[in-house]
Symmetry: D2
């Protein structure tokens, strides 16, 4: 892996080094970095990324299609030939797409074949913004697109993918924040105070889900010391936050039954905006609760 560079360094690098540094941000398409070179210096990473995306969007449809065709298929277990970039491998690996079960593998194979037959290039999606469930959902939905709409959709995904890759290669000033944040807050409305010490678990749920993502405990302010997820895209998908309020109220002297009416409170919700801030608080008594998307 190349060492991280600052934007200032990139602005000064000789041509070959610049291209070597950024050539594989766009999958096997060093020509994009080369074409972007002329616009240096870049004031921000966002400006650099915009320029590179303009190169892609201004290219001929033929060149765009060739570029798209050079992307790897999702969810394959191919040995050897036709290697992905390191970035692609890491992205697919983050969802376990490199170690699918047989039925999942078969489903991907079928979707890949149908998609490629229809559009002539592999299905491209910014894996880091999705759960497996939403990838399957997008795959099936987009296979019904018209050719123009799908070309646009694929390039939009290229934008998401390459922005994340670019940000990962650069350090220092001018680097945009990668947004995406999930947080919570537990409030004990029997006493108007933060519910401190509540055990919280976040699960991804769904037909092919990852299960437990994170465990935490609320602090004196009823929040977790750090957000449940922060500074990365939230994967589109369905989640369940579980609050162990039974244990919390066991120590509080509140009126409870045995077993207590509420023990583990599950709050199930879906994320639709990977770059958004999802704040999902709980206001709770031993007999009632309010869950909502807050801010």
């Amino acid at each position: 892996m190349h060492a991280l560079k600052t934007l200032a360094e990139l602005n000064e690098l000789p041509r070959e080094d610049f291209v070597a540094s950024l050539g594989d941000v766009f999958e096997k398409a060093a020509w994009i970095a080369e074409a972007a070179l002329a616009a240096r210096p870049f004031a921000t990473v966002a400006a650099l990324h915009d320029t590179m995306m303009h190169v892609v969007r201004d290219a001929s449809t033929e060149r765009q299609l060739a570029f798209l065709r050079d992307h790897p298929e999702l969810g394959t277990r191919r040995a050897g030939a036709d290697p992905m970039t390191e970035a692609s491998k890491a992205e697919q690996g983050s969802l376990g797409l490199d170690r699918l079960s047989d039925p999942e593998f078969a489903r991907f194979a079928q979707l890949n074949a149908a998609y490629r037959q229809r559009f002539g290039f592999p299905f491209i999606i910014c894996v880091r913004r999705h759960t497996r469930d939403s990838i399957f959902a997008q795959f099936e939905r987009r296979t019904h697109n018209g050719a123009d709409a799908e070309l646009a959709a694929a390039l939009e995904e290229i934008g998401f993918i390459t922005r994340l890759r670019l940000v990962a290669k650069i350090e220092g000033p001018g680097k945009p924040k990668t947004t995406g944040r999930l947080s919570t807050h537990a409030l004990d409305i029997t006493c108007g105070r933060p519910a401190a010490g509540v055990e919280i678990a976040l699960y991804e749920i769904g037909t092919s889900a990852h299960g437990l993502l994170v465990k935490a405990r609320t602090n004196a302010d009823g929040r977790t010391d750090s957000p449940l997820i922060a500074d990365q895209p939230l994967r589109i998908g369905t989640y369940e936050l579980e609050f162990k309020v039974g244990d919390y109220f066991a120590g509080s002297g509140s009126a409870r039954s045995n077993p207590s009416f509420l023990d583990v409170v599950p709050v199930r919700f879906s994320i639709a905006e990977p770059e958004g801030h999802y704040h999902v608080p709980l206001l709770v008594t031993p007999w009632s609760y309010i869950a909502y998307r807050g801010s």
Copy 2:
């Protein structure tokens, strides 16, 4: 099975017929019905039951222990010998205690052995007031009782069991209502109206749970046409009510994301009072909800 009789008929029956009719309400203990005979006529079934329970409570400890010893063990798969009453079979069968998995069978066997060794009679519990999980929990808890406390506990369970049996044998006036009721109500607080047409499912959950208990759909008043459970003891245990609010709001024009923030809303709660009324409403928008024990 004997035909249902009215209380008036029972009050008039010849001695042998009265005893034949009610003799097995108390497991293999026709002497209890016989002793109760003198107190006829009974104004209500509750009065009849109270009289029979007094016979038991007034008996010598020896006779009480002999009576308790004549009860079947829970969760056995014995063939042939030492048959249960029909009532016991039906009660145990209602929880699947007659078709346990091997680990469950082993756990019961161990608990039964420990309990019998300590107290000299089998563990008695009103099965119809419990889930398997709460039976295991009670079993373990009560095995640590002292002898007097446990004798009292067993007789209290006898009271629960025989009251239900008695009520099941009698028809017509003077018969008490068997209480126990679980109901719900869905209110759409984006428009201040009942949420009509919401699919609802009730699950028993727990380590050895029965799964789906009932499905229903809310009517124009946001309620189900009949309570989810009614006129029978609610089994002590943990439940999950699921409300398909995603489908409901899909037709409503409300502001939603894709996927929608809320789709299936699970409300998990435990029941502690089998004869109680649990009303568990949901006030809901596409982005928030309030769940509580209502009335």
Copy 3:
């Protein structure tokens, strides 16, 4: 006042007595009762009312206008001449329109003059469906109507007025229920039980409001023994329900501050549908509450 009659009696009365009985349901317009006579017998009071309203709607515009002109003005303090029907007096008296303050009297006088100049007949509104505030609001709004729209509006109000008058004259079967209902329910969500013994007061509020309408106390079910308002139109307007939860929680052992965070909880809302059912519950802890239009 004529004695109440049953629908069966009305169906059998001689012509003159029928007209005498119903002649003043429509202000000084016995011709309407006379014309309705031919359609006897009426199966329901609603059918009788519909028939009478059809007589009005089928009359010539001239006759309709003459009929409307025979109505009293609202909010006058005229002595002697041009008397209202008893019904009109009672209706206007129910809002205190017969004992206005000087500024209110002046405002009515100005509105009456402007309205009569524009339309040639007095402003007609079903007083029993309105508070003073909503009468003023309707008065000002309707004065800007076109002639046709306002004639239709006046006849719709005639329909509301005469339906209530007719129902008040008839007893026995076939009589429609006058709907309109305001109820409440207080639930203590610190313990999942009805909040019993909570003092409740209902106020009409607004620039010229009547003040306290009713006081009540919640019973063991957290409801008032009878609805706050029932079986009569709810006056369109703004209300405040006050719940004395401070006194309630003072006896409960809940965690409270001194003075308590919540003492009297005001819930302010407006009624827009006089014939509707407004159920306005409160779910409450000493530190939080939920108020909503329920069902």
Copy 4:
């Protein structure tokens, strides 16, 4: 008024200047500043205040009583003689205690007389921590104290008063923050977003209340740009926050009636901890709301 000084300057001042600077922090009791002098340098303002309070607490009861007797009475309109310190005037003026109505004046006069007769010194209370209502309530409550308890209560109030005075005289590092904060947050739970642009008004209510305290409008985050009250003691008393949600939802396309069910939502609450943070959010739809003490 003396110019603000830093703690460093106070630590270095000649004796007379130090006493001149701080002599009237304790009402007409320069001996307290003088006695504190020996403990210089002070690391923080809190340490300086603690030292001065120790001087008072360590003084003989006679000297304490003489010190208390030198305080002004509350709510008098005396001309001329026996002037208050500037600080006392400003504090009493902040509650309008220098311009009482005749009945209020009479009530204070009666309370002052009864109190002075019982304890021999005037009633002392940190006015800036109270509304008029809570002053009256404290006055009546404390008049029933025993002599020792009341001496302790008066000295505790002296601590509150002098801490605020001291902080007001000093600038720069080492100065403690004066806490006390009231904030709010409006969330539109029909769409899971902050309710922006909601007009909010905060009123002090009560039998002799000041009325409107502040108006504000929620920003894009559903909060006010600055807290409703900050960095000063919150006066113990009863308040009403009013949220104009009718206007807010008028622009939102939500299902509403005419007039809308909710227009101005009043949230009435009491403050018991002047130095606390009261966060009072509103979660709202056009037909429901949740108000609570948050964090």
